[in-house]
């Protein structure tokens, strides 16, 4: 610890912190409050600084019927509640399987980590090629098994769509194109999020004391019981950490949507049907004019939702997590 007089040390500390403090003040703390304020300014023009009135008008318009924001919210919630449990479950299985083998373990570990070091946009384009409506790889595999071609990303009418049977085509959001596009998006999001989770869970698994398993073996406990009564409870801090971070990450899903569906976030022949909350925020920010208020209101809504879920997660974790 650096020695010295209290006042000298204070100056010293602030001096070393000054670059960080200045940058944080300009680009983190100030914007945080400013965004809150903007969200309450009706028809705020950011170039002139003029606005019509204070109030909740931006929020009211956000949730008014016919606004694309509703679609965005539904899409985001679907992404969160489908992709997060699936990817955590799958990565847990993979991590346990990886931990139980000896030969080739390093090899598999490297392969499973590979998607972490990729460019989201580039691989998103690859996925849109794989799920191409006609000659894509996905359709080639399906037709190989005698199935009908699926019109994954919308567009071509001749190709059959799996959603036709149980999704009402007149519904504004849940069209058949929406379902198939969402499946593609889910596959991509899960593919993209597995490496990080596997790495975290595997390094936690390798840190578990062998004694627990030996004790269980002596008692003749079945593998399934060992998994649910020893492995999962001992991993609960990591699982909880992953749950919170991936919840937050899934609520902010944006780049992967743009990577597959383009800047307008749509399946072919649809209008912005794959849009997410963050997509809405960025679109309204860039539009210029007086739309900045909607973007700010959208960001605050996102912030509140994320805080709410983080709070729930931590309440549950207090009861469930074994540290």
């Amino acid at each position: 610890m650096v020695e010295g007089k209290k006042s000298v040390n204070f100056l010293r500390g602030i001096l070393y912190l000054s670059p960080a403090l200045i940058l944080m003040a300009i680009f983190t703390f100030y914007p945080l409050f400013n965004t809150f304020i903007i969200s309450f300014k009706e028809e705020y023009n950011y170039m002139t600084g003029k606005y019509a009135e204070w109030g909740f008008a931006n929020y009211a318009k956000l949730f008014a019927s016919g606004n694309i924001f509703r679609t965005c919210l539904v899409n985001t919630l679907v992404i969160v509640f489908v992709s997060v449990p699936l990817s955590i479950g799958l990565s847990l299985l993979i991590a346990v399987a990886l931990n139980s083998i000896k030969p080739l373990q390093k090899f598999f570990q490297t392969i499973f980590f590979l998607p972490y070091v990729t460019n989201t946009i580039a691989i998103g384009m690859v996925f849109s090629v794989i799920f191409e409506s006609h000659q894509g790889l996905a359709n080639a595999i399906i037709t190989e098994f005698g199935g009908n071609m699926i019109n994954w990303l919308g567009g071509n009418i001749q190709a059959t769509t799996i959603g036709k049977g149980f999704l009402d085509p007149n519904n504004a959001i849940f069209t058949p194109q929406w379902l198939t596009s969402m499946i593609v998006l889910m596959v991509y999001i899960i593919w993209n999020s597995l490496p990080f989770k596997i790495l975290i869970l595997l390094s936690a698994l390798q840190g578990i004391d062998r004694q627990y398993y030996q004790a269980a073996q002596v008692d003749g406990t079945s593998k399934l019981r060992i998994f649910s009564k020893i492995t999962v409870p001992l991993l609960s801090p990591q699982i909880f950490y992953l749950l919170i971070t991936s919840f937050i990450g899934a609520f902010k899903e944006y780049t992967s949507v743009v990577a597959i569906f383009g800047n307008n976030a749509q399946s072919v022949g649809q209008r912005n049907n794959m849009a997410t909350v963050v997509w809405y925020i960025y679109k309204k920010t860039k539009e210029g004019g007086t739309t900045m208020g909607y973007a700010a209101a959208g960001a605050v809504v996102l912030f509140v939702i994320i805080m709410f879920f983080t709070l729930i997660n931590s309440i549950i974790s207090k009861k469930r997590v074994h540290y």
């Binding site: 580039a122 894509g136 950490y241 990577a259």
Partner: protein, 338 residues
Amino acid sequence: MGIIILLLFVAFVVCMLVLKKTNVAYENFQRCKRGNVYIENADELIRREKIVKVVRYIICYAFLAALALFMILPFYWMIITSLKTEVEISLVKPTFFPKEFAWENYKYILNIKNYQIETSGSIRFNLWRLMYNTLVVGFFSTLGTLVTTVMAAFAFSRIKFAGREIIFTLFLATMMIPGEMMVISNYITVVKYMRGIDTYWSMIVPFLISVYYIYLLRQNFKQIPDELYYAAKVDGTSNFKYLLKIMIPIAMPTLITITILKLMGSWNAYVWPTMVTQSEDMRLISNGLRNSFSDSEGRSTQGRQMAAATAVLAPLLIMFIFLRRYIMRGVSRSGIKG
């Protein structure tokens, strides 16, 4: 192709059935051993136990291999599609390996010199210019981040002053807040007050600080024993020199990890660069890639698209091959609760 998958599936089902049957025997066997009960067919049971083990391994490896295939597939498909000719790409049945390697897509991508608008209306993918922009932004933002991170981590770990813990907690709290809250106001700040549209610094300055890296380095600095500091003091070393000559070399692995992660971050940066650039000459690489191939072109440019994607991914993959240790350590560190 289909037959192979079908066979794998059948094998999987058979394995599961065998496992279920032998598992019961295995559990009975375990129970017997505990009670020292005489077992008539001990050999038979031991044999079964071995089978269970083998089957379990087979299932394990099959499961991992199938998923590894799923992980690799997009990379594989990207590379082989980029090597196919336009004729081969437009076949009704896609081929799993190019009939002949066609390098024309790469020749096309690597030889673009300027941003011409294609006949289809989309912008040409000017790889070299985009790469140059990205490297400039990546280099300076990494350098700046290292400076701010080292200084802040030193203050947080070594200098005792009033309010230190409060500031640190405040910093950490910002990690919970979605970045979209900041992006809106930052956009106004940069565009309106700083006139930063189409400049390099507008893509660098807002990212010169990372709370997560400060946290990472602070943990590392804290592990360095105080005795080293006192020894340096006796020798008359100044604080700054101590930081430079002793703490930084000790924390080098962490600094390398930060450098790599930061460089990868700028290579993949998409949202902010899209917002603050309008001229095609100032785009970063992810951004340029997305804008260059519009959806309307369809299949005819798939080969070029995939060649461009490969060119964007290649530096990342090379980095991964040589520096895997640092990357994986930096990432796995974030999962350990500190």
